[in-house]
Amino acid sequence: MDYVWHFGVIWDYRMVFVRGAWITAQLTLYSTLIGLSLGLLFGLFRSSTIAVLRAPAAVYIEFFRATPVLVQLVWIYYSLPILTGLQLSGIASVSVGLGLHAAAYFAEIFRAGINSIDKGQWDAARSIGMGYGQAMWRIILPQAIRRMVPPFINEFATLIKLTTLGSVLAVYELLHEANNLINNTYRPLEVYTALAVAFAVLIYPIILLSQRLERHWRTNS
């Protein structure tokens, strides 16, 4: 092992990483927002007693869980424009694709969280005259959210990592920027090492936060 590391290269090109991280953050933010809102909807549909809501939600969730994310992304990027004439930018394609993908997983987290709340809470809410919406929003969800937070944060961390798939669609997120940088510097070891560290720096605080919250709520409930 007489490889000589030149991490100076990384410092010279630090702005490339900052730029990539900014795109990665955007992809993560958009796909999380899409995933959470659709996920809540599908999660509620899937636990509904109404079959016309439940069945499509189930099909959606199982379909997205049963296909690779990369296939979903390239399908949206290449097939959607041909079928609908709707040409999305790379960033939009990845955000939508990952958002739709995450929705399937978020939906399952919502459903499991809602189901974990004691049926007596529904009884109590109904007995004071609450309808489904009020009971769900004021009584069930606030309790369920706490149980959902750890799996949510896991899924969020997964989503950050999945944004690297954007490099396939020519989105200048961290991995894509890193690959370009290697073409200029011929320093793959340094660049990929720095890339791994960059992701760890992005993701580790999130995991830490999840653990803190979990502990906080366990001692306060």
């Binding site: 004691d118 809470q121 009884d123 109590a124 007995s127 004071i128 005259g129 609450m130 309790q143 409930s221």
Partner: protein, 251 residues
């Protein structure tokens, strides 16, 4: 005030209420006793439509509970109508079912503020009065998990009363309590009964039922075995099944 006619309830193939007829009058304290699995709680939960019934009528102030009839066909009532009936009947549960993410005061205020849309200041005063009535003035800002079972159940009673209901339904309110905490809950219920509240109480507390009830209904296997004044039910039951049951629970 409550009229039940030929009430039938099924869980799938299981026939749990098998034709019940009973009237409960305004101001009456009406206790329901019977072995576990006899359908007492199911009967109570049908009264405010927490459970659907499949046949027969429950009428509250003359209006059918849970269903509406159009052109001879019976359809489920609108969620709004079902909720409206429920706000007129307070319910107290065996397992309290307080909202664990809300303080004692918030638990009591939730219904009047959110469902009945009453002004918060008015409700706060009402809630504080009720909490004083049940002896919990010093616990208003606590969360339910910090309270004993007896205290939680008294909050449960205050929460139900906050809707200013016309009837109170009690579903085995003391069955989940440690024996030394039963008394404090029964005292609150006794005060309510004395105050003229209409109450339907599913209970295993025989001496309590005997003391406060105007009438006691004995149920078994989804049927009414007998209904009578407590002196008769407990002193001189007319049905062998009632006598058997009482002999078993007293010892």
């Amino acid at each position: 005030m409550i009229e039940v006619r030929n009430l039938h309830k099924y869980y799938g193939a299981l026939h749990v209420l098998r034709g019940m007829d009973i009237d409960i009058a305004k101001g009456e304290v009406f206790s329901v006793i019977g072995p576990s699995g006899s359908g007492k709680s199911t009967f109570l939960r049908c009264l405010n439509f927490l459970e659907e019934y499949q046949q027969g009528d429950i009428r509250f102030d003359g209006r059918l509970v849970g269903y509406r009839e159009t052109a001879g066909k019976r359809l489920r009532a609108s969620p709004r109508d079902i909720a409206a009936v429920r706000t007129r009947m307070g319910m107290v549960f065996q397992s309290f079912n307080l909202f664990p993410h809300k303080t004692v005061l918030e638990n009591v205020m939730e219904g009047p503020v959110i469902v009945q849309k009453k002004p918060e200041a008015v409700v706060r005063k009402l809630a504080l009065d009720l909490l004083e009535q049940v002896g919990l003035s010093d616990k208003t800002d606590q969360y339910p998990s910090k309270l004993s079972g007896g205290q939680q159940q008294r909050v449960g009673i205050a929460r139900a009363l906050a809707m200013q209901p016309e009837v109170m339904l009690f579903d085995e309110p003391t069955s989940a309590l440690d024996p030394e905490l039963v008394g404090e809950v029964l005292d609150v219920m006794k005060a309510l009964a004395t105050g003229g509240m209409t109450m339907v109480i599913v209970t295993h507390e025989m001496s309590f039922a005997r003391e406060v009830s105007d009438r006691v209904m004995m149920m078994d296997e989804g049927l009414i075995i007998e209904v009578d004044r407590p002196e008769v039910i407990f002193g001189n039951p007319q049905q062998a099944r009632t006598a058997d049951f009482l002999r078993r629970v007293v010892h």
